[in-house]
Symmetry: C2
Subunit: 436 residues, 2 copies
Amino acid sequence: MTYTKDYPRIVIVGAGFAGLYAAKELRRARGLKTVIDRTNHHLFQPLLYQVATATLSPADIAQPIRAILRGAKNFQIFLSDVEEIDIEGRQVRLSCARTFSYDYLILATGAQHSYFDHPEWEEVAPGLKNLSDAIAIRNRFLRAFEKADQAVDIDEIRALTTFVIVGGGPTGVELAGSMMEIARNTIADEFRNIDPRLSRVILLEAASEILPAYPQQLRVKTVQMLQRIGVEVRTLAKVTAIDAHGVSIGDAKISTRNVLWAAGVRANSLGRQLGVPLDRAGRVKVGPDLSIPSHPEVFVVGDLATVVDAKGQQVPGIAPAAIQMGRYVARQIIREANQGVLAGQLERSSFIYSDKGKLATIGRASAVAQIGGIRASGWFAWILWLLVHIAFLIGFRNKLMVMISWAWSYLTWGRGARLITESPNDKSSADSRQTA
Amino acid sequence: MTYTKDYPRIVIVGAGFAGLYAAKELRRARGLKTVIDRTNHHLFQPLLYQVATATLSPADIAQPIRAILRGAKNFQIFLSDVEEIDIEGRQVRLSCARTFSYDYLILATGAQHSYFDHPEWEEVAPGLKNLSDAIAIRNRFLRAFEKADQAVDIDEIRALTTFVIVGGGPTGVELAGSMMEIARNTIADEFRNIDPRLSRVILLEAASEILPAYPQQLRVKTVQMLQRIGVEVRTLAKVTAIDAHGVSIGDAKISTRNVLWAAGVRANSLGRQLGVPLDRAGRVKVGPDLSIPSHPEVFVVGDLATVVDAKGQQVPGIAPAAIQMGRYVARQIIREANQGVLAGQLERSSFIYSDKGKLATIGRASAVAQIGGIRASGWFAWILWLLVHIAFLIGFRNKLMVMISWAWSYLTWGRGARLITESPNDKSSADSRQTA
């Protein structure tokens, strides 16, 4: 044998789609497998916007990593941040000061928001990447109506009930549709001093069209569906300033107290420690086998990596691609471990991304879908969207809970998780008035 | 008419059981009704311990106040803290600086933890009163096992997997039973470096018996059931010190990193502003009609009040009593408003508490119940407990979700909400070790 011990030590950092599916595939592998994540759960990110818009509870789209890997042999799970990677020494140092040596390293720490050259926008325009973000957005969104109901100044009420979403990708589209529906339907009759139906939801996109990764026909359909439910879609709208009072697009200013950021992501900073070339978004440029140059034992997968596959496709930053990458690297490791050779001593087949299609919801019973050559929109695409998301959710309980939540929301127009959980409202937007 | 306007202005502060059921009863009353709460939801407190022990999600036991009162005429709902009550001027001033005048005031702001003369214990021994508390306890409880799995010192591991609950009332009993079950069943096989089955759960009670409000026979049963699942019950155990390293009972010290406080409550401080006599726990001493001396227009209900009813019963601080108090005062107001007289000008019947019984769960398929002359324990009491709690939960969706969560937990021994949601673990309890 050629390992330090008589089995390979495999360390996986990050239990998102790429890391988790690598770990699941490695259940049947020899060796000691260590999964390191900063949270105790795998998060089903495609439904995170539904936590932000009060339809689902955090637990519905999260599953404990330990529960997923229960019964799998030779796994250890570590709740920690990673502080440092020593590529030459083949060690990972955790923020709890412990160090793991590895024979194989799978890095899958994903991406976070990027505000480009405006880090100061983060404070006023939160993004949506994890459960804390989702709860913070939910609190802000629901509290805006409470504040508007207490306000007396009409301009203040307008600013409080204007919601601006920056970025016309799938997340922006889904947030916009969902927020408009809540304002127009769910809470429409619940306020005495304001009419939530008069709320504005504005979706801003800097490019000439929203959903750039989708076919032209579906982009047009999406705009039509968004406009039908009342969302204002503005393209070629490059945001130049954001503050607590509004958003500027060049000279034009939208007065709002609620800006959400869905415009850009950048890879996790761990990639920088590898000393290998990165792209502009900080993603690691990996080889055709998803390993880094000169280190066949170090794989980078999911949103942390950028790769053009053997068919010449730029692999997109979406869940199905991450799952495929995770499974692919696990299989390379298993093959080498089974033959007892060191990393990279067998020739590896190149990773090929299999494009299963794209799906995005716009709102109640409307979605767009592209699957192979088939393009669909409206009700049929929505049913497809429901089925695919239920199928990929992990855990029977979560599938059941999400299905029931959706059925209930569909039948009643309600939202099941309309909680404001932070401390009581600050005094910024309220003012003194004698009330009968 | 005798009001300032030609209808009474009714202000309700607090939308717990007492305040909410008063508001629901007042749906059919003339007048403008204002409900003020610091959160946007009514919380079903009897199941709060199940959020703290990862069985239920916050949204399952909370319902937006606006949704509950949707469609009710002449209601306004205000999300705010109350800053000041001017009894003589008949005004309530909110923390958002707005002021409401009233013809009737219903105060129902409930109770919070009391650490008696040791406010410094709050930091190390959190209590369970609201959703933030429950999430904080859940995070601490689940994180303790993660830290233990990462620790190397055996004493440290023991301290991390020892859970001490101070206070043997229903909340303490329910927390203890639930935590023991999670350690022994739910997560028993999920750790590599520790065996959660070896965890200790210790329930401390200063008095000579736990569940003092229950009949002797059921108290004995409860201790037996707790011991059968592994909980250590210690009575006559008066806690003399709590710090980050453990709990002292006189000279004896229990080394633990996890102390929960379920020992005492004190009424919300708003009661002190009324200038009327309070009891030792800060509760307002109200008259037989639940109003305060000389102010028939000011009612105090729920856990904020202390009252011996016309039958000589001390009304207990539990949900059914709060509901009855809320409904009773609403009916007094409706009767006076219908006749167009000022508060207190009609003779009021005295409040009489109707004791429907007591219920507490110990764990899986075991509970104790006293209903009228009937005393039950074990499986039958547990079914009764389930049915009563489902019946009183507000909202069809919540009833359904809670039933499914319970059925799933019963069948799989799992817990549906095992999320650690705070930031990654601190470095306090981990240490450096080279791991293969």
